[in-house]
């Protein structure tokens, strides 16, 4: 049984690969990718039996039909494929649901067993599957704000901490398990790379660790638990680095460019993973940082804050009256400094607050380190583009003029066009526009900037920036180029915001960052925020209705996000916001 099902999935994938090579009708490729997902990617998940049988037979029927059509102008290759295909089709048709299920389990089994064997993990496969198939409980910003707001001296403080810890104790294993499964089922061999396997194993260790803690009942246990979490939050900074390396090694290994549909599938998986990871981290960080009593000893570099003393009025991760202007100023200073270190010059970053008077006093509740990450990333991109264009320009004028005065050639910050950062607050959103004159990119490649497996920098720039640290990401250490923008957008969307780039080829790029104004108590959440991925379901793949700002279209045609239009994984679109949380967190027994 299992042998035949393995064989089956092998055949499927080889067939699909062959079809990739030949197919040029988009509908066919789409059919195939739906087949890929239904046979390999979602394989481990339990599904309705009937659904399954129907879909597999329909699928094979459709493929047969298409193949027939295609065969009409057949070559030798295609005939070969047809033979392959009909055997697959008959296999899919002939096998009962149980076999398909078997093959499902098989895939996860294999991957997990590989790792478990290598590293001797103590989490069993059944446990992992059991945990990962539970829906996780979505939290909103207002929930998080509310449960962290207890005054350290009030008598409510400790019971609240305890409830939070108990909630986390139940919630985190589910989320960690889901991330582990995410990693283990990354498509196209990404899950087989050493880096990714290592992280997956790390997740499995966390899972074990969290589950080793007893459900916190006393202050001591709660303290221990929080300390344990701290280690986890600190530890995982290496993850984007490792995944970037994994993606890079995959690219090197295959030599040829990954074709677009495979790339899309990979992007989708990575987006989902990082999106969910943002939620997981935020929960843990928030719990650690909202520990008022121990705040002075809390390591604030945990979340990348260097000037920790300034952040005293935060509640956990959340700041009541986050000032976008101050954050932008700080980020601008930092970027200008590191830009000067790297290139010797830096464009001036002008920060302008254009908020109309009537909104000037309104509060903006947000997570400052998210905001800071996004701004820094955007400003760095703008500065880099400006300098690179400027350098080109200098060379051009030199050639042109011929005799060149040494002193004129000395570039100063003033000779670079400045980067403008404009902030405007409105009733709904805080909007931040970052406009540079760095030459822009063509419309057709703008989409690529949102993909994880992409880097626009040449090799020599790479090495130069590595030396000075300008190119490194804000995660500890490594050089994670290409991840900055997509991660920034994940942060922006997390609480219902949006990040969009508009390019004017030959002129510059304008980045628009929309962040919902949440207000003092963050209780009157706009609809958009209520539907944000972070709020509803942290394993959501971002394929819900996203406000692109200017377009009706969701999904592929919009060209905004290459991963749109796919299937959602494991947990359903749960709308059980507070009830479940209350059940767990407020249960006094």
């Amino acid at each position: 049984m299992s042998a035949s099902s393995l064989n089956l999935s092998k055949k499927c994938s080889s067939l699909i690969r062959a079809r990739y090579a030949i197919g040029n009708g988009s509908s066919i490729i789409r059919l195939q990718s739906s087949m890929t997902s239904s046979t390999t990617r979602e394989i481990w998940r339990q599904q309705d039996a009937q659904d399954d049988e129907v879909s597999s037979s329909v699928l094979s029927h459709q493929m047969k039909k298409i193949m027939k059509k295609r065969i009409a102008n057949s070559t030798k290759d295609q005939q070969h494929i047809q033979r392959e295909f009909s055997s697959v089709a008959s296999a899919v048709n002939g096998h009962s649901k149980t076999v398909v299920d078997m093959s499902r389990k098989r895939v996860l089994n294999q991957d997990v067993l590989d790792i478990m064997n290598q590293n001797g993990s103590e989490v069993t496969l059944d446990e992992l599957r059991e945990l990962a198939s539970q829906p996780c409980t979505p939290l909103s910003l207002s929930d998080m704000h509310k449960y962290a707001s207890a005054n350290a001296n009030s008598k409510n403080y400790f019971p609240q901490r305890l409830r939070n810890a108990q909630f986390l104790h139940k919630e985190l294993p589910i989320r960690v398990a889901q991330r582990a499964v995410d990693l283990l089922t990354l498509p196209h061999g990404l899950n087989k790379t050493a880096e990714v396997q290592e992280i997956a194993h790390k997740y499995l260790r966390y899972l074990k660790k969290i589950r080793e803690f007893p459900v916190p009942q006393t202050e001591e246990e709660e303290y221990e638990f929080t300390e344990g979490l701290k280690e986890i939050v600190k530890d995982r900074k290496s993850i984007p680095v490792a995944i970037a390396k994994g993606v890079a090694s995959l690219k090197d290994h295959r030599k040829e460019e990954l074709d677009i549909y495979r790339l899309q599938e990979m992007e989708k998986a990575l987006y989902r993973f990082f999106n969910a990871r943002t939620g997981l981290r935020l929960l843990a960080e928030h719990h650690i940082l909202s520990c008022v009593k121990r705040q002075h000893e809390t390591n604030q570099s945990l979340v990348g804050w260097e000037e920790s003393d300034e952040e005293t009025d935060c509640l956990g991760c959340i700041k009541d009256d986050c000032s976008p202007y101050d954050e932008a100023k700080k980020a601008a200073e930092k970027v200008m400094t590191s830009c000067r270190e790297c290139y010797g010059i830096s464009p001036e970053i002008e920060v302008l607050d254009c908020t109309p008077e009537k909104y000037a006093d309104s509060n903006f509740t947000y997570v400052p380190h998210h905001l800071k990450y996004i701004l820094t990333e955007l400003l760095k991109n703008s500065c880099r583009a400006t300098i690179r264009r400027h350098m080109d320009g200098i060379f051009m004028t030199e050639d042109h003029v011929g005799s060149h005065n040494e002193q004129d050639g000395v570039s100063t910050d003033k000779s670079l066009p400045s980067v403008r950062l404009v902030i405007a607050r409105g009733a709904e959103d805080v909007t931040i526009k970052i406009a540079d004159k760095g030459g822009g990119v063509a419309r057709s490649i703008l989409d690529q900037m949102w993909t994880f497996a992409h880097s626009s920098k040449s090799v020599e720039v790479h090495s130069k920036e590595n030396d000075t640290g300008f190119g490194t990401d804000q995660f500890g250490g490594g050089n994670v180029r290409g991840f900055g923008l997509p991660l920034a957008r994940i942060y922006a969307r997390y609480f219902g915001g949006e990040l969009t780039l508009k390019s004017m080829e030959g002129y510059g790029v304008d980045a628009y960052l929309y962040l919902p104004v949440l207000g003092k108590a963050s209780e009157n959440l706009p609809k958009r925020v209520l539907e944000s991925p972070g709020n509803l379901d942290s394993v959501h793949d971002g394929n819900h209705h996203v406000y692109f700002g200017d377009s009706f279209s969701t999904g592929f045609l919009s060209g905004e996000e290459p991963w749109a239009g796919g299937v959602r994984h494991y947990s359903s679109y749960t709308r059980i916001p507070m009830q479940k949380f209350n059940d767990i967190a407020m249960n006094k027994n």
Binding site: A424, G426, E505, R528, G549
Partner: protein, 443 residues
């Protein structure tokens, strides 16, 4: 055996055959059933229905800006004629071009019209509106009229007759935009009155008067298809008819080889300022920067329509936001271009207060409008055969932006708006520089 004239547009491998979705036909049951239903619903005789279905089953053929230019120059004559030597100055060559294009249109237009007629029959709710029915009848009439012409246009006499027919069709269809807008208005009214019940897809209405137009994606998609296809048909006819006119320097038919965005923007600024001043007594200054000496081949009327619409919106927003008699911040227009670019990009930025993000969807909607009902009533009574002019009957109905976007998208470009609530709005117009993108052909 069908006799299709060798079309110049086919030559670049640009037939849209692969754009026909596989389920296109299965959507409509079997042919005979559909035909029967069709006859009953519409009251059109069976053979007309058959003709329409026959033509709708053929693929539409797309034309890029470049193809239009090359055909107009006679570069594709060898596709049709054995003796294709031509001299730019010879009358004969021009005649050949005209006959070639006419033959192509005779083949292509019935197909496009047939696609639209079937689409008009399918769209839920809209098809029951009186204005929409009239539009449909208009399309059927023109469709039959085209079929009455011989398939191959062999000599100049036939060509002349064909041109006369196209001219009358072109004029007759000028009011279609207004008529469809009226159809949309009737649909709104019908939903309000409750004479059309909401089905679940339209979204449940919380109150009697709150109609969720945003949720009517079907209707939106239909209107988008309809308008963009209409632009295509009108460009083809317009190009042909203007090829018949005495040649103008730098023009091939409608296409100006040296379209200067700066010149067009300047003209649009004058028009918009005139309209703004007439209404408010003053208008904000407009500063144009960037590459002012740029020229590229395009259809100037399209670009003018888009720019006028954007500038009008920006001026109105600026005046409304800052109040009459205030000092207005200038509106900034940037024209961007490099040497190797694929696009010409024009940005229009104003500081007119912007739009909240949750409303951004509505500005692209055909069904939502902030215009006061009086204007709409006026529009319904309005029956002027104008497509777009300064005093368009569509003014204030919120049609300008979506139609502008269709114009931009028609030759492969795009239009998008980014707004900063509380500050201002930036509009980005992308136009393909080489004009080698195939026109979009909705099914």
């Amino acid at each position: 055996m069908r006799c299709i004239p060798e079309s110049p547009f086919r030559s670049l491998g640009q037939t849209s055959g692969n754009l026909v979705s596989p389920n296109y036909y299965s959507q409509r049951n079997s042919f005979s059933t559909v035909q029967k239903e069709y006859g009953q619903i519409t009251g059109v005789a069976d053979d007309v229905a058959r003709l329409i279905h026959k033509h709708a089953s053929r693929p539409q053929t797309g034309a890029s800006l470049q193809t239009l230019m090359k055909t107009g120059r006679g570069e594709f004559l060898h596709k049709t004629y054995d003796d294709h030597t031509h001299d730019d100055n010879s009358k004969l060559a021009t005649d050949k071009i005209l006959m070639q294009v006419a033959s192509f249109l005779r083949h292509e237009l019935p197909i496009r019209l047939a696609h639209r007629i079937l689409d008009l029959d399918r769209v839920p709710h809209m098809k029951e509106m009186n204005s929409v029915k009239q539009v449909r009848d208009l399309y059927v009439t023109s469709f039959l009229e085209l079929l009455s012409v011989e398939k191959q246009i062999q000599n100049m006499k036939e060509e002349e007759a064909f041109a006369a027919i196209l001219e009358s069709i072109y004029e007759r269809h000028a009011s279609v935009l207004v008529q469809m807008a009226r159809g949309a208005f009737e649909l709104r009214a019908a939903i309000r009155n409750g004479s059309i019940s909401h089905d679940s897809r339209l979204g449940s209405s919380s109150g009697r008067n709150s109609v969720k137009f945003d949720a009517m994606e079907d209707t939106h998609a239909f209107l988008d298809r309809f308008y963009i296809s209409r632009i295509g048909i009108r460009v083809l006819i317009g190009q042909y008819l203007s090829l018949r006119q005495p040649p103008v320097e730098n023009y091939i038919g409608l296409i100006c080889l040296k379209t200067s965005p700066y010149e067009i923007v300047k003209r649009a600024i004058d028009d918009a300022a005139f309209m703004c001043t007439r209404k408010y007594g003053d208008s904000p200054e407009v500063i144009v920067t960037g590459k002012l000496d740029l020229t590229f081949p395009y259809v100037p009327t399209h670009l003018h329509y888009i720019m006028l619409e954007l500038l009008k919106n920006s001026m109105r927003a600026t005046v409304d936001w800052h109040g009459i008699d205030a000092d207005y911040p200038p509106i900034k227009v940037v024209i961007a271009d490099g040497k190797e670019n694929e696009d010409v990009v024009i940005k229009v930025s104003d500081e007119g207060g912007g739009i909240p993000r949750s409303n951004m969807k509505r500005i692209w909607s055909y069904l939502f409008t902030t215009a006061d009902p009086a204007i709409q009533e006026g529009m319904v009574a309005f029956n002027e055969n104008v497509d777009h002019s300064i005093d368009s009957p569509l003014a204030g109905l919120g049609y300008g932006l979506p139609i502008s976007r269709s114009y931009a998208r028609y030759f492969g470009g795009d239009l998008s708006l980014m707004s900063m609530e509380g500050h201002g709005t930036d509009a980005f117009v992308y136009l393909t520089r080489l004009g080698n993108t195939r026109e979009p052909l909705p099914i």
